[in-house]
């Protein structure tokens, strides 16, 4: 007997996310973001989310759609375009509650959640305004001779995690083939339920041909759903399958700066399902060619 088949559609995965939940989103900036699942979230009635992310356009799109009550992040960026326009606008309107953590604090918060610990001690944060804008952050004193006072980064436990990988099998084992795993395995293990979208669902036997054992990043025991979404990280990068769609990202950022242009962009790209999105993207690419 094989382990269970966890394949589902983006709609099914997102259908298990409830308003008010804390959702972690993998990738980094504008790199390997589970954009097909984010787009499915945009189409869903879910709202009032706490989003935990090394932020990119995932944060921007969800904030623009009014889905985010609270954001836990160290930044939001499009990489080749330094500032995420929707994140920026949401902050400047004052309609986004932000838990602003340092990049390392964020990683240790996820790690604490993975290990079922209430916090992890870190040096980062001391002396900075991260301590001021998060008045709930506490320090802890080392019980050993050094007696150091360190920041106790609270566990970042997640109700759900969304990540995108290059390959996965039907059981939830996920393989990344690009240069960086980011923190996708931590997101999955820190969550009650993790949904892994991938470029291609393969038979487990195919993993070994695609990459070394170290590329097998996500293990099935930490995964609830597997969603095959070709080009599903678009317009973020998903090396080596494809790079970032810079032309599309520029169009996204340009539209985001103007309400009228954003309405047009939304109508053209974000009103239909994932197939409609990919068709519209292909048409956009043709125009530019």
């Amino acid at each position: 007997m094989n382990p269970g088949d966890k394949q589902m559609s983006p709609e099914e995965a997102v259908g298990r996310i409830e308003s008010g939940m804390t959702v972690g989103i993998g990738g980094w900036g504008s790199r390997r973001k589970p954009m097909a699942l984010v787009r499915a979230l945009l189409r869903s009635p879910v709202t009032d989310l706490t989003v935990v992310s090394y932020g990119g356009p995932d944060v921007g799109l969800l904030a623009a759609a009014g889905k985010v009550r609270k954001l836990v992040a160290a930044f939001a960026t499009l990489d080749s375009i330094p500032l995420e326009p929707h994140f920026r606008a949401a902050r400047e309107r004052g309609d986004l509650e932000l838990v602003e953590l340092d990049e390392a604090m964020f990683m240790w918060g996820l790690t604490a959640a993975v290990h079922r610990l209430p916090f992890m001690p870190v040096r980062a944060g001391l002396g900075s305004d991260v301590m001021t804008v998060n008045p709930g952050l506490r320090t802890v004193t080392s019980p050993y001779e050094d007696g150091e006072e360190l920041v106790a980064v609270p566990s970042l436990r997640l109700d759900a995690a969304l990540v995108h990988l290059n390959r996965a099998d039907a059981h939830g084992n996920g393989q990344y083939l690009g240069p960086d795993p980011y923190f996708d395995d931590l997101f999955c293990e820190a969550a009650e339920a993790a949904y892994v979208s991938c470029e291609r669902v393969v038979d487990s036997a195919e993993f070994a041909d695609a990459g070394s054992p170290q590329t097998l990043l996500v293990k099935r025991h930490s995964v609830t759903g597997v969603i095959e979404t070709p080009n599903g990280a678009h317009f973020t990068s998903c090396a080596p399958d494809y790079g970032r769609d810079e032309a599309f990202q520029r169009a996204y950022a340009k539209a985001a700066a103007d309400p009228g242009a954003w309405r047009e962009f939304t109508e053209r790209f974000l009103t239909g399902d994932e197939d409609a999105y990919q068709t519209a993207v292909a048409a956009f690419a043709k125009e530019g060619a």
Binding site: F75, D102, G125, L126, S128, V130
Partner: protein, 245 residues
């Protein structure tokens, strides 16, 4: 060799930041610091490690990958102190507090920028220098709106765990090199780039800045360094775009 440009003085000043650092990761943010780090490695600091901007550590020969440094290992290298980063700064005060998060009130910023990113972890764990391509009173301010990178006064106030590994070796701008080698750890001018006057730097700084009489000039690049900058590292002249002549 034609006249040395301001951008080239900046490259040399950035390269000097990594002199004597040994076998650590040079983490430059910005074009001129990147060219500077490459110059340092090709000349007086051959042991430096350099990434491609993502997860690959680049060998000295073009196209050679000598190692792998994904974000999570990068972050452990930071807390292990085996790195000297040169970050940007949207605001910087006389104590070396840096802001890249937002301008105005944090609760509802007038202008949201990047967010704190890794500035808190950087400044408390590994040497953190800064690069400011346009020295102006908007950057060099009396008080930063949000302390991301921790300065000397804030580190001292936070106690020994904060000061233990805290160090800001230098601030390089398009006008000068600054540091904190003063009794009260406030900013001073270490050298002016040739062609820049003390008065110019004072006017471009939003707080009172002590500039000693006879402050030296930033050193001249050698002929070999200029050839490396112009022909090997940056033949496209990207440095001149970041610091126009």
């Amino acid at each position: 060799m034609s006249t040395v440009t301001r951008a080239e003085y900046c490259v040399v000043a950035c390269a000097e930041a990594w002199r004597g650092d040994g076998e650590v990761l040079a983490a430059p943010m910005g074009t001129v610091p990147r060219i500077g780090a490459q110059l340092a490695r090709l000349t007086f600091a051959p042991d430096l490690l350099l990434t491609d901007g993502e997860a690959m550590l680049l060998g000295t020969e073009p196209g050679v990958v000598e190692g792998w440094l994904p974000y999570r290992q990068h972050l452990s290298l930071v807390s292990g102190g085996k790195r000297h980063v040169m970050m940007g700064a949207s605001q910087l005060d006389r104590h070396g507090n840096q802001n890249i998060s937002c301008i105005g009130d944090w609760k509802r910023p007038r202008r949201q920028l990047l967010g704190v990113r890794g500035a808190p972890v950087n400044t408390l764990n590994n040497p953190t220098s800064y690069w400011v391509p346009r020295h102006s009173p908007r950057v060099f301010v009396e008080r930063v709106d949000m302390v991301c990178g921790v300065g000397y006064d804030r580190a001292a106030a936070a106690g020994p765990s904060a000061t233990r590994y805290h160090r800001i070796p230098c601030v390089v701008t398009d006008l000068a090199v600054l540091d904190f080698a003063t009794p009260d750890r406030t900013m001073r001018v270490r050298s002016l780039h040739p062609g820049v006057t003390a008065q110019q730097v004072r006017e471009a700084t939003g707080f009172a800045l002590d500039i000693a009489d006879g402050v030296p000039y930033t050193r001249e690049p050698t002929g070999a360094e200029l050839r490396l900058i112009r022909e090997v590292i940056d033949p496209e002249g990207l440095r001149e775009r970041e610091v126009p002549a």
